[in-house]
Amino acid sequence: METVTPTPLQLLLGFAQLSLQGFGGVGGQSLHFLTRDRKWLTDAEFAEDSALCQALPGPNTGNLALIVGDRAAGTLGAVCALIGFAVPSTVLAIFIAIGLGRLSHVPRVAAVESAVVAAAAGLVIASGARIARQLGRAPLMLAVAAGILLAIDVAHVPLWLSVVVGVPVAMLLGAARASR
């Protein structure tokens, strides 16, 4: 899979577009946008980079913008990508907050909002399923993915703790498999 290297301006505009087309969070859109639409990352790079970005504090996709921007064009690229990611959507959200203050009690508005959030959840699940499918030949890695899912959604282990425990476990299992 061939990838292309964006310029700072392309980073600014690209992450503004990604951010503005994200409903209920940008996570569900970023895989398609970065790997298929713009070809800035391969599937494998996306999986590794987005896991790193979720392990670090801060907005997940904002961190991804920083990593992609820094790799393509250094500090300027990172700053441009982050501004594109954060500023246009902030301005738009404040205008929406001003306008929605009057509409928020209309039932149909609430129903559309809930439906969109549910669809956004489906997109995030599809992103996870696509990465999990690439792990198909490594059952131990699938078990790690399932363990993370159960820890967070069933056992309500804090996310930082799940990552701090999960990463070394996955590294040990990977090393054990490689040395066999």
């Binding site: 997940n60 790799r71 699940i125």
Partner: protein
């Protein structure tokens, strides 16, 4: 006003370094700070800003500038946003460069390989949690499941699935 801007900056800079998991994971902490600790807004106003941060296009961390805007207008929004983004951004760029400098080191190779199943698990966990937070009953579960299956099977722009869901929501009412 300057006091409000100063405490906005301080609170959100502190939140920045512990905000693992992005926007959806931070709502309880922001609620504790903004409603409980600082009395910046009421429960009702906070709930409305959370709804906007979910519904408005953009990242879930939009809740940060929205709280800043509620406290001190446009200036408050950008003070909160910059205070929140700066510490975590420096950490991310430093960590990214440290990993990129030694791409073939055994530890880095093992770490990058290990991060894939973690990402898969985090995405699945986050999607399922978001599906249950939509508070839309059977219709919400059906929409989330349908989009998850369709988006895995057909690679089209995800915006189409969101628009289709909005139309279904408007039709059900």
């Amino acid at each position: 006003m300057n006091d409000a801007l100063g405490s906005l900056a301080w609170r959100f800079a502190l939140l920045s370094v512990v905000a693992v998991g992005g926007g959806n994971a931070m709502y309880p902490q922001i609620h504790a700070d903004a409603v409980g600790g600082m009395h910046w807004l009421t429960d009702g106003a906070f709930t409305e800003l959370v709804a906007v941060s979910q519904f408005a296009p953009g990242p879930n961390v939009l809740i940060v500038p929205l709280v800043g805007w509620h406290v001190a207008g446009w200036l408050g929004a950008f003070v909160a946003l910059i205070a929140f983004l700066t510490p975590s951004s420096i950490l991310t760029v430093v960590a990214g460069r440290a990993l990129a400098r030694r791409p073939d080191h055994r530890f880095v190779v093992a770490l990058r390989f290990a991060l894939r199943p973690i990402a898969a698990g985090l995405f699945l966990a986050s999607g399922l949690a978001l599906a249950s937070s939509a508070r839309y009953g059977v219709a919400g579960v059906a929409i989330a499941a349908a989009v998850a299956i369709l988006a895995t099977a057909f690679e089209v722009n995800p915006l189409w699935w969101l628009l289709a869901a909005a139309a279904v929501g408007a039709a059900i009412g």
